[in-house]
């Protein structure tokens, strides 16, 4: 019995067809996964279901009734909740206030704070979140905030829960908590639609998978009747054998490290971290979410105040600002590309030129920007990185996540960095672009760049890195390389450092 039916729905934006006669249904008490590359139309389908957009043609039916004048408000009232990758929490309000946003218990116009916290607790427990409901939401880690979003979606006891990349910021434990909630909902007869780039998760939790490609449904498969390769083939229309490039050959002669950190400490972030970044090698920082990986990267780029010693090519160095780090030819691609990685409201051209003004606007021209040189540089980078943009003057925010990431990375290439720091380089990016980025990073390493990558994706660290340092509560607890670098060892070291040490 179908809870929700999507019937031959089409949608265009400014003459650009995003969905073409898409049909599928969500049965009561099932978990349906929507899979597809970036731009396949998943988000648009979801926005139709949640009432953010209306279809141009076709219709959606809930319990067999066509949806008319659908809106986010009505969708909520009908029991449709959603959790998105982008957070909607107010960081200055408490967790409990966020969970019950818009429906605070009140007496005579005064919010009952204690009552609010009391009612929030069971919901937080349900999503496996062990925090005081009176904490301000902004103090929680990204993953914890995502779980608060989930708790918020559960307030109205949804019949249909939509998870749109809702696990992208979560570590394995937190993902399990989400799965538990999903299974509870399914057992209670509710339905879940989930979108994720983590294929393994989709296989672990879904009953059926609907594959979208270029705005059309390729197939809907029962989980039992399909496998990873089958789905990927449907998604990209070809085999994907070489997701990861070959690793660096182990060299006998030790290369001098490009950057050496000893006892790197960031208050509240990491403590006593020793790292050596060697030209030609990709070092990974693994571990659960929020164990200080981010602090290490920010310290090395001069964005976080830090203690400890840093040597660049054997010489002691002080990195107290990004400008100093850049001068030392260190480049940084942050995890939050929309806030720090890019000027999303500026053009692709302006973004690519900003980090290369020394060459594009040289002092001998009185720092006047040479438009020809700029256009050449931008065209070259767009071409080299295969950035898909309508034109160099397109705003960066209009690009897909994968292309934004390519811009965030491309803008450092002309200055030929010696050290490249990347945080979550492929989060929320389709598999085709992931592959391109992995291969690019390996090529850069082969050309003599020392690369440091943090990632919450175990498969990525194992597939990409030559060595992985596992962090736990701000310290490196394990280093894995060569034959020891397996997903199993990595996960074990991440969740239970004490045991692996014993």
């Amino acid at each position: 019995m179908a809870l929700l039916t999507v019937d031959r729905v089409s949608k265009s934006f400014a003459g650009n067809r995003v969905l073409h006669e898409v049909s599928f249904d969500v049965r009561a008490g099932e978990v349906l996964a929507l899979v597809g590359e970036n731009g396949a139309g998943k988000s648009t389908v979801l926005s139709l279901i949640t009432g953010m957009q209306a279809p141009d043609a076709g219709e959606l039916r809930l319990d067999g009734e066509p949806l008319r004048a659908w809106s986010p408000l009505r969708a909520r009232a009908a029991g449709i909740s959603s959790v998105h990758q982008e957070l909607s929490l107010n960081p200055h309000q408490t967790v409990a206030e966020n969970v019950f946003l818009g429906q605070w218990p009140a007496r005579r116009g005064l919010v009952l704070g204690r009552d609010l916290a009391r009612r929030a607790r069971p919901l937080l427990e349900r999503v496996g979140l062990d925090v005081d409901p009176r904490t301000r939401a902004g103090r929680l880690s990204l993953g914890q905030q995502q779980l608060v979003e989930l708790a918020k979606a559960l307030v109205c006891a949804p019949r249909l829960l939509i998870l749109d990349e809702a696990t992208s910021a979560l570590d394995d434990d937190q993902v399990q908590a989400v799965f538990r909630v999903v299974r509870e909902l399914r057992a209670a007869g509710s339905s879940v639609v989930t979108v994720s780039h983590r294929m393994a998760e989709l296989f672990a939790i879904s009953d059926r998978l609907t594959v979208l490609k270029d705005g059309a449904v390729m197939a809907t498969r029962d989980r039992a009747g399909t496998d990873h390769d089958d789905i990927v083939r449907l998604m990209i229309g070809r085999e994907l054998s070489d997701l990861f490039p070959a690793k660096a050959a182990p060299t006998k002669a030790a290369t001098a490290p490009a950057l050496r950190a000893r006892g790197l400490t960031v208050p509240g972030g990491c403590a006593g971290v020793d790292l050596e970044l060697t030209p030609g090698r990709i070092l990974g920082l693994g571990g659960l979410q929020g164990q200080g990986q981010r602090a290490v990267l920010r310290a090395l780029f001069g964005l976080a105040r830090h203690g400890g010693e840093i040597e660049l090519a054997g010489r002691p160095a002080k990195l107290s600002s990004p400008r100093e780090a850049i001068r030392a030819r260190i480049a940084y691609v942050p995890e939050d590309r929309k806030v720090e990685g890019l000027h999303v409201a500026q053009s692709v051209r302006a973004n690519l030129a900003l980090t290369n003004l020394d060459t594009v606007a040289p002092a001998r021209r009185l720092t006047t920007v040479d438009r020809n040189a700029e256009a050449g540089l931008v065209a070259d980078l767009i071409d080299r990185m295969r950035i898909k943009a309508a034109s160099p003057s397109q705003e960066a925010r209009r690009l897909s996540g994968g292309n934004q990431q390519k811009v965030a990375l491309a803008r450092w290439l002309p200055s030929e960095p010696r050290v490249l720091l990347l945080a979550e380089p492929t989060r929320g990016i389709d598999v085709g672009t992931k592959r391109e980025i992995y291969h690019l990073l390996r090529r850069l390493a082969d050309d003599g760049v020392a690369v440091l990558v943090t990632s919450g994706d175990t498969m990525e660290l194992v597939g990409l890195c030559d060595e992985v340092a596992v962090m736990y509560e701000g310290a490196v607890v394990e280093r894995l390389a060569g034959g020891d670098l397996t997903e199993e060892r990595l996960v074990r070291a991440s969740v239970n450092p004490a045991v692996t040490h014993a």
Binding site: P322, R323, V339, E340, Q346, A350, L357, T367
Partner: protein, 318 residues
């Protein structure tokens, strides 16, 4: 679809060039003034308008630099008075040249103090500049004992009142300043930094944008230009007063915004500000020509600014 695409592209281009809108509105208003009001069709009225618009325009150019990097300077009115009053005072004892130099120096100093507060003390620009403006106004009162001097300085007199080839020298000065500002903001490295900072401070930091230098240049230039405007005004009226800068505070910001620059920064063009200053000066003149009382005139001007803002310079929803 074939016809729809170019049209939407054209509309977007128009929306993205709100500075061009400002010139359009200016031309329409000017045409309306010539048609429906007396005395706007003569060469001398054009001369007078461009001359008086120059005082506002010079200040507004500086304000554009600051607004473009998401700042704001609420001390310009005080700086206008500061440079004029100090110049008049100093020139009485040490001659005109000394007066001009000291006037400009103290103006620049205020700008640098603003930058220090915004940059190192991390005081929000609105609060910092409002505070320095108040301090400057107060210290002028103390400095002059409440009675600022008059001064007739040859250079300033001719700068404000003379003409070359029929064009007011003040207007020429304004255009020259504009040309430099166009280069600085739209062609130089500093301009790229200003736009980047106006778009996102975090992303700029992580891109290695020199926050310090850019902030000092923007606030320094803004205060210096307000000082220049104060000197030209001193030349124009041959007298200084403690309140001579007051009308220019709101009007300078309004010129920037009506010129199509986003008050949130990162978007706009210096030339739009030129149109904005001319437009506001024209509106003021129109309201005066209609013999409205001072109070009614101010009310109408305020309402007109809001109406024009709604018409074409509203902030975009993202």
């Amino acid at each position: 679809m074939m016809t729809a695409l170019p049209r939407t592209a054209g509309l977007r281009a128009l929306r993205d060039h709100r500075a061009a809108w400002a010139f359009g509105v200016l031309l329409v208003t000017w045409a309306a003034a010539i048609l429906f009001a007396n005395g706007f069709d003569s060469v001398s009225s054009v001369r007078y308008l461009t001359q008086t618009a120059s005082f506002l325009g010079i200040i507004a150019i500086g304000q554009t630099l600051v607004v473009m990097m998401s700042g704001i300077d609420l001390s310009v009115s005080s700086v206008v008075a500061l440079s004029a009053v100090v110049c008049a005072q100093v020139s009485a004892g040490h001659g005109g040249a000394a007066g001009i130099l000291v006037g400009l120096a103290v103006s620049l100093l205020v700008g640098l103090v603003n930058a220090v507060g915004v940059l190192w003390l991390r005081v929000p620009p609105m609060v910092m500049t409002l505070a320095t403006g108040t301090i400057v106004a107060g210290s002028l009162l103390v400095y002059t004992n409440g009675s600022p001097k008059s001064a007739k300085i040859g250079l300033l007199d001719s700068l404000a009142n003379d003409r070359v080839a029929g064009i007011p020298l003040a207007f020429v000065l304004w255009l020259a300043i504009t040309a430099v500002a166009v280069w600085l903001l739209h062609a130089s490295r500093v301009g790229r930094y200003v736009f980047a900072l106006g778009t996102s401070q975090e992303a700029s930091r992580a891109s290695g944008v020199p926050l310090g230098v850019t902030t000092f240049i923007a606030y320094g230039a803004c205060a210096l230009l307000a000082g220049v405007a104060g000197l030209v005004l001193l030349g124009f009226t041959a007298t200084s007063s403690l309140t001579m800068g007051n009308p220019y505070q709101l009007l300078s910001i309004a010129s920037v915004v009506l010129g199509g620059t986003s008050i949130l920064g990162g978007r706009g063009h210096v030339l739009g500000t030129v149109a904005g200053a001319l437009l506001l000066t024209l509106l003021t003149a129109l309201l005066t020509a209609w013999n409205l009382s001072e109070g009614v005139r101010q009310m109408t001007l305020g309402l007109l600014i809001i109406a024009l803002l709604l018409a074409y310079a509203r902030e975009r929803r993202t």
